[in-house]
Symmetry: C2
Subunit: 787 residues, 2 copies
Amino acid sequence: MPRLSIHPSRAFQAYQIFAANTNVGKTVFATGLCRAAAVVASSKKTNPQVFYGKPVQTGYPVDSDERHVKTFNPSSLQTQTLYAYPDPVSPHIATAEPPSDAQVMEKTKQYMLDCVKKSRDSGGYLFLETAGGIHSPVMSGTSQADFYRGLRLPSVLVGDGQLGGISTTLSSFESLHIRGYDIPSLLLFNHDRYKNHELLSTRLHDQKIDITNVPPPPSPNPDPIQDKAAMAKYYEQLDEYLVPMMERLDLHHQERFDRLESMADKARDVHWWPFTQHNLVKEVTVVDSAHQDHFVTYAKTPDNSNAVEAKEMFDSCASWWTQGLGHGNAKLTLAAANAAGRYGHVMFPECTNEPSLALAEKILERDTWASRVFVSDNGSTAMEVALKMAMRTAGKRYGWLDQQRPVDILGVDGSYHGDTIGTMDACSPNVYNEQVQWYQPRGHWLQPPSVHISQGKTYVQVPKEMGEAKQVFYDSVSTVYSVDQDNRDPALTDVYKQYIRKELDGLRQQGRHIGAVLMEPVLMGAGGMIFVDPLFQRTLVDVIRQEGKDLLGYKEQSSTASSSSWQGIPVIFDEVFTGWYRLGRPSASDFLGVKPDIAAYAKTLTGGLLPLALTVTKESIFDTFVSDNKPDCLLHGHSYTAHPMGSAVAKESIEILDTMATDGTWTPYQEPWKQQDGGNTWSMWNWNTVQQLSHLPNVDSVMSLGSVLAVNLKDDQTKGYGSAVSASVIQQLRHGDHTDASGTSINLFARPLGNVIYLMTSQITTPADVQECERILLSSLTGTNSA
Amino acid sequence: MPRLSIHPSRAFQAYQIFAANTNVGKTVFATGLCRAAAVVASSKKTNPQVFYGKPVQTGYPVDSDERHVKTFNPSSLQTQTLYAYPDPVSPHIATAEPPSDAQVMEKTKQYMLDCVKKSRDSGGYLFLETAGGIHSPVMSGTSQADFYRGLRLPSVLVGDGQLGGISTTLSSFESLHIRGYDIPSLLLFNHDRYKNHELLSTRLHDQKIDITNVPPPPSPNPDPIQDKAAMAKYYEQLDEYLVPMMERLDLHHQERFDRLESMADKARDVHWWPFTQHNLVKEVTVVDSAHQDHFVTYAKTPDNSNAVEAKEMFDSCASWWTQGLGHGNAKLTLAAANAAGRYGHVMFPECTNEPSLALAEKILERDTWASRVFVSDNGSTAMEVALKMAMRTAGKRYGWLDQQRPVDILGVDGSYHGDTIGTMDACSPNVYNEQVQWYQPRGHWLQPPSVHISQGKTYVQVPKEMGEAKQVFYDSVSTVYSVDQDNRDPALTDVYKQYIRKELDGLRQQGRHIGAVLMEPVLMGAGGMIFVDPLFQRTLVDVIRQEGKDLLGYKEQSSTASSSSWQGIPVIFDEVFTGWYRLGRPSASDFLGVKPDIAAYAKTLTGGLLPLALTVTKESIFDTFVSDNKPDCLLHGHSYTAHPMGSAVAKESIEILDTMATDGTWTPYQEPWKQQDGGNTWSMWNWNTVQQLSHLPNVDSVMSLGSVLAVNLKDDQTKGYGSAVSASVIQQLRHGDHTDASGTSINLFARPLGNVIYLMTSQITTPADVQECERILLSSLTGTNSA
């Protein structure tokens, strides 16, 4: 099936007609725009077709915008009304049982696809007329500005020329603008007295909007024949304004595509992408916009011309694991903009502001084990802060602060804590960090056992460092993650304990100073989506707290020990990736049944909108830094620390997620797992699909929790980052030209981690989208065509 | 003079009445609110007074909202109309020569102050009625929503109950919301058919707005007596709705003050402030909002009760040097929100998006010496990236990459490059970084000569390490900063050259590998506002490039040398603080007359709104990381790399600044410097004030460039961070209860840097505000009362 896209192409222009209010002339302008498009079309070689669509019409058939548009347009105009109701009120009142938003959108998209198909050879112009003002409801109550956002068509805004119209026009513009719409053109009826267009031109000057002020239509004539004649004459007059306006709009459209065609090459010339070998970049993805889980990208057409075409891509790496609440989320935008408007950024040290304080309170409401919140900008800085907190605290208790011996951390091999030098030093050496001149491993790293599903069976892989390498099988995934309830596996717990004790004893013999115990609870992401056995991490924390001090041979200085609430060595949970429901529970620590002394949060903390990171800790650690001597304080800070925008968005995001966790949103995902896996562990990814994947011949093992699905591919050559087996699968996911049921092309924006393919949803992904992703993944892995 | 504030207090409530459109009942509701306030007031012990103000009235005296309000209110209501025009149109049309925005605001504030004074004992309610819709012009065209933002009064929004009113009401709400207004209450006239309040309740549910839907007023009666009687009756009916609504609003106000009173203590309990010794925090500043250069803070009243009162503070540390375009800048908010709405955050590696690409292009348009832009989150990460870039590049050219010998940097003593471990390692040891366990100085640092003004004379202090400590005098500040034009001082240049050569030779003898030369051009901020002699930094770059390789004894590997465009050692300019007009020129490198090989930008890059940082460099450095081997790439990235919001705001901010640099905005500052200092060097701080400060007995020296004014206080005890002499001056600046001409209290939110007091404006600070700051600074330094 050939690819089709509802998104504009160079040949197919589509515009949404929005209005600042009801009764400001939307239909008159729609009529004029269709006429003008026909004129402009006739000047083109291919003579593009002109379409007019009215998704929702009330007051029908007495009122019919479609009929009016048709009456005053050439017969070549193709029109359609999708839903019509007799009552001349808002649709949410006009119909008691409205179709769902999804149904209306599906029908709208189908109509657009029809237009695209019909005009495939000629090109076309489509005008989609909304009803009422921009925030008037579509059907059951959703605002049109929100509803049509998934299409994000370039929009013509019909302004209001009457008294008060400056205000409603500007407000409407802003409501569209903050939803990411392009508004190339503003149309309004002139009023000789108010001259709203003049002030609107000044106010909107920086927005580069083409403003067209036209004479108002004649007053209605009670005689229908005379009225029609007067209107026909008026439309001829209107052509003088709207044909040149349409030519400018056409030019704007062509310039937009000139830009889209050039962006990939320009990006190659000017960007220095993070963590990217530029020589290995096959294709640059131009993300023109994003909505919920989907990117609208523009990529070169296969014909090797310079032309680009739109392709929707499912953001299946959740934009580097940041997405919780989807792209273009209007609630988060409003929360961000409100904080920006109220504060911008304001000084934080020795100060407070409502969003920052409210966020700290919200965090501590949940993290009842903690009492202090430190704010920085990203996961790396949050972890640098955590390290500074822990190492000073441990050193003070055990009397190392003035000793020259270096302080180390105890970590888990394969972990990743960030890209700043300090966080790199906290990770074991690998092919990556050894490339960095100032990298020096400052720690000791334990070998972790990991959780896998292979051939339908769930097992823990115990590493050889624990005596013998072996696989321990369990009857379900949930059993493995039931660490908290009772002693899951006493024998294995003993194996872990012996291993940890032996390692600590070794450190003692070397006289090492261990200032922090670090781990990514449950899942080590960047290290290769390694699901660490939670029993191991729980045992590690237990041993550190109960026996760590003695095993390591440390002596407390009497002055600090009494008031402390941490034991052994400060334990840091790096929850940058795993926090905030990423794995189906509020925190990954919920799987371990223990809380850390210090936790780091970032990524989905802000719902996937902007950078902010937290380091949360206990009073006993905070107290280490409190004295009457200024330089004793925690020497870390960034200029935008606790910026109100990020703080407000984080709080909003947490509240939304907490609501979703209890309102049944995730029940469709939880139920199949409960039934088939038998416990409380669940994933957005279907249990059956996970099983199916685990049986594929090229798959070594699979694991899935919450929104994460990881597939370890078999690789006879290299394991880890150097692996090449994933390249062809990624290529297939990204560019396999998959199409959905409606014939719309859809692909997955996935990224490999060595021999691991992972897919990750946001927290708002629909069951239908997950199924679609599963279908594409299965077909890409089995080499079958999913189209 | 006793302090007065126009901002609400617990006893004085003030509300702005905004409307979604013209003619939706603002005056009727204003009338009803005044009546309801009178009822609520009568139930209180102090019987608070009720005020009504109409700043701008058109159609006067035929129309007079004040008259209507008065007619239907008890005689105790105090009312005022500030400006009135006969023409019943928008004020921008009604008057050909409107008063300026500043004049209207001044008069409005004066009116509010009068109300505050009159009701000092009783407390009061003030309702300020706007005209038309929220974006209708005040006078000459400024939107009311923008104009009244400085007051940020809690707002009552009058919605529209008619068809289309859902849309205009929601849009108006959003336009106010993104400007940071609190909107506790929405009022509208019921329409039996449309029932707009129902859908508005659903849509605004999360915003916690109290919605009151009331019967519409009777139709106008042509008989004035009957009309009045009907209206009187209507208002009695309205009381049934608005009195309870006013009680809820009153409760909302009390709860707001409960919160404001508790925030300082809560902040002390939950925040862990960056770089702050909590034990030394005397007072927590609760920043309730900010506008342009001003914070509105709430602090405890001196009576030792729990009560708080509003105090405006000038943000004289520019919120940790981030402010370029002021707080609550609507243009930046809109740019941020547009990007949030269009993208949220989207994947960046191997991708591009319009805001990120446009920003990179904008940067390279200016930084023509560079060709690549790397994006991260803050100054520290930008510098970590710069270090990684430089050290690998130098190592590759000189064949160190596989050698075990550590790589060092060459820096300037007293410099500061960030708080992550890597950037700390690039700074010389001091009382602060030595407290951090993993800190290890990895470099060699040169002693810098510095620029001072003392007793009216400008001189360069040459350090003793250059042979002999001495002061070299110049006839003006501009002369010192004319490094680029010709050889400013050949003799001193020779002194610098000899010193640098000797140091490099010493490094050669030790066999040191220098991987980068780092400097903060012109001004070392965090190190104590040290104005480094630009001639020294220029000479350093010249020597490094012309002789560095040979002096250090490095040999090029033939494979890399030919294509390179950098010489000697890669030079990094840390422009995190000094970039983007901070010092009056686009870049601090403009004073040095040389460009770096790598530059780091952050802070004002985003106009003072949200975190984003750039590391900009040359193709020859980028090329070092390009190969067919993935791990050769630059191993650095943060999740929100190149987030669209930050990128869009940065581009907008640069464009605004570039415009200001040419449109004469800064002429009032530049002219006095040109006249009195005689060159192109200038500051927002007046030349005469700088001279005056330099003569004060407790001042050692002063320096000023661009928006920065630094005052070195004499300190017999300790120099640097440990100094205590600044504490009393800071206390005086912050809490000296200064008042401006109108009697409004104003203080400076300043922070010390050891014995240095600095004040910093944004790039939009008005000459009047600078004068005010100078007056307060002088009085605080001389111990005179400025009130």
